[in-house]
């Protein structure tokens, strides 16, 4: 119960720090507008013309028939425009002259082997062709494997391998404002690390530590109360940004608002744990604040907070995995646009495990200092 009072008064003090609060709220709201408008083009998906492909067939078996049927499917034709060519050399010539992006070759002697040649410099078109054929082959392999096992599953249809996955049932995709609303909300939560550090440090600064320690309180009540107070403050910040962006910027936060708020809560816990642990390990508020003021923008950058994740190089993308911002961003995008549930679960587990570890380290350090 006393921990709850400590939490309430901690949050009250944080909220009364008007200068800090204004920065925490005004900065993301302005940045959402600026970045969302300036980088809106990055999120627009242009219409893609079907990739021109030549098909050279030296094989008269069932494979050809199946592949031809597959390539003539309406869904496939939207992506690949296939032109049958009798001669391999002629097909290669068409590709070299830019009349085709790829060449699919079914060799005479090779049963079931499909060669794909991609014109150099046509990485995008080539990858489309490769992916479409991968889909066909996987289905064919699955059917073959099933037949060996004695089955006759009619549900396996190689023509079903191209499935258009809309980002949500309405086919909606994140626009610039939608993306940056999420990214900046997460950035704000991560700036909450500074709340975590200052909440732990304030009782040294204001000398109120002696009052808390001389009161009939257990150290865990003080620790829990202060952590809860910081999380409460951050949830308040998150709610204000959420409501503002939803009703003023008309940002799409999806239908699962409860889960979005739970994700905010998770990020508030993560930020608080980082702030608390940093202060407990460094032991000096100024040094901790300096570290966090560098760390948060770095994590925001790697988390796709400034530059959209899909525009990053592969090397930067690998580093993103260590950023809580990235994990939070993926969880929210997957939630709003009904993406991978597995990824949501996986990233949630990572965030909670990391927070728990940081709190354990902080509590352990705190106990040692008390002794």
């Amino acid at each position: 119960m006393k921990a709850l009072y400590i939490a309430y008064y901690t949050a009250l003090r944080n909220v009364r720090d008007y200068r800090n609060l204004t920065t925490m709220l005004a900065l993301p709201i302005v940045l959402i507008l600026i970045l969302g408008s300036a980088l809106a083009g990055t999120f627009q998906i242009e219409s893609i013309d079907p990739v021109k492909v030549v098909l050279v067939n030296d094989n008269k078996g069932a494979l050809l028939q199946n592949l031809k049927e597959f390539l003539q499917q309406e869904d496939t034709k939207k992506i690949i425009n296939t032109e049958p060519v009798d001669d391999f050399e002629l097909g290669m010539e068409k590709m070299k002259t830019g009349k085709a992006f790829a060449l699919i070759h079914l060799e005479k002697a090779s049963e079931g082997k499909i060669d794909v040649y991609i014109r150099s410099g046509s990485m995008f078109g080539g990858s489309i062709v490769q992916n479409v054929l991968d889909g066909f082959i996987q289905s064919a392999n699955a059917e073959y494997a099933y037949s060996i096992l004695g089955g006759n599953d009619e549900s396996i249809n190689p023509y079903d391998t191209i499935i258009e996955e809309a980002i949500n049932p309405d086919g909606k995709r994140p626009a610039g404002l939608d993306y940056y609303a999420i990214a900046m909300l997460i950035m704000t939560m991560m700036y909450g690390t500074t709340y975590g550090a200052s909440t732990m440090a304030e009782d040294q600064f204001y000398r109120t530590e002696i009052r808390l320690k001389s009161a009939p309180l257990h150290p865990y009540e003080i620790f829990t109360g202060k952590v809860a107070g910081t999380i409460l403050t951050l949830m308040l910040d998150a709610s204000i940004i959420f409501i503002f962006t939803k009703y003023v910027y008309d940002v799409n936060w999806g239908d699962n608002i409860l889960f979005i708020m739970f994700t905010c809560f998770t990020l508030a816990v993560v930020a608080t744990s980082i702030g608390v642990a940093s202060f407990m390990l460094i032991g000096d508020e100024n040094k901790t604040q300096a570290l966090l003021s560098i760390l948060v923008p770095v994590l925001t950058f790697f988390g796709g907070g400034y530059m959209p994740y899909h525009t990053m190089s592969s090397a930067v993308k690998k580093l993103s995995l260590i950023s809580p911002n990235y994990l939070g961003l993926r969880i929210m995008l997957n939630t709003i646009y009904e993406g991978s549930q597995g990824q949501i679960m996986q990233y949630m587990v990572i965030l909670w495990t990391a927070s728990l570890l940081l709190f354990i380290i902080s509590a352990f350090k705190g106990r040692r200092e008390l002794a």
């Binding site: 009250l12 003090r13 009364r16 304030e202 204001y206 000398r207 009052r211 009161a215 009939p216 257990h218």
Partner: protein
Amino acid sequence: MIVEVKNLIKRYGNVLAVDNISFSIKEGEIFGLLGPNGAGKTTAIEAIIGIRNADKGEISIFGKDMKRHASEIKRHIGIVPQDIAIYPDLTAYENVEFFGRLYDLRGPLLKSRVEEVLEFTGLLDKRKQQARKFSGGMKRRLNIACALVHRPSLIIMDEPTVGIDPQSRKHIIESVKKMRDEGSTIIYTSHYMEEVEELCSYIAIMDHGKIIARGSKEELKAFVTVEEKTVITLDGMNYTMVDRIKSMDNVIDCSVVGNVITIISRKGTNNLNSIIQLIIDSGSQIISLASEKPDLETVFLTLTGRTLRDEVASI
């Protein structure tokens, strides 16, 4: 005894902050802990109330062992720390209310106690004002209010009047006197000897972590003083009168420089009335008179060779 401390030792690395001190405090007593900054007063207090773990020693408060019954004992202790320990972003009312809640005060009882202590410290009309807008003296008073909200049986006041204006100091001293009259037991640490002398019934003098002297103020003064000096300025000198003073009982010496007589008497003889009568009878007129009695500053000077004020000024 409300407090009993035996052989308390507290080290910080190689520094012996509290060096084997023992003392006890009776109920209703104001126990003064006098000493310069860095003498170990605050460390001793913090070890006694369990904020710092003592390296050695036994501490018993309200007849209970502090180590075993810390939580229970803490309920009845109120601490006024040396540094102002309040939250500047909270109002005076909220500050007191918050610390009251930590002592399980709730509802109407909490409200009445908060108002009571704010009234007691003269801050009731400022209760809605944030503490950051308070003057140093008002913050000190709020510091006291936060310690009293749960009506503690033992109040520890660690240098409660440092760095404040005379008006606030007077208010605090009067508040302590009021608490004394109401029967509170108080540990009062200070390097202002006048305060300790005015308030405390029993005094321990600390230096370099040790208690170097203890007793009532009279006992402490008696401990260091062997003589009393009286300096009298007259309108003219009468040497017959000087001889008669010299021959008085307990007068050790009487010297004359111009119209000024300096008389050295044995301590505690209280012969000033007799000396004055003798001067009047001789027909001389007294222009001025100064009687130098020892104070706690003299006691500290005698014991350590240093003055309390010098120590403070050098920090």
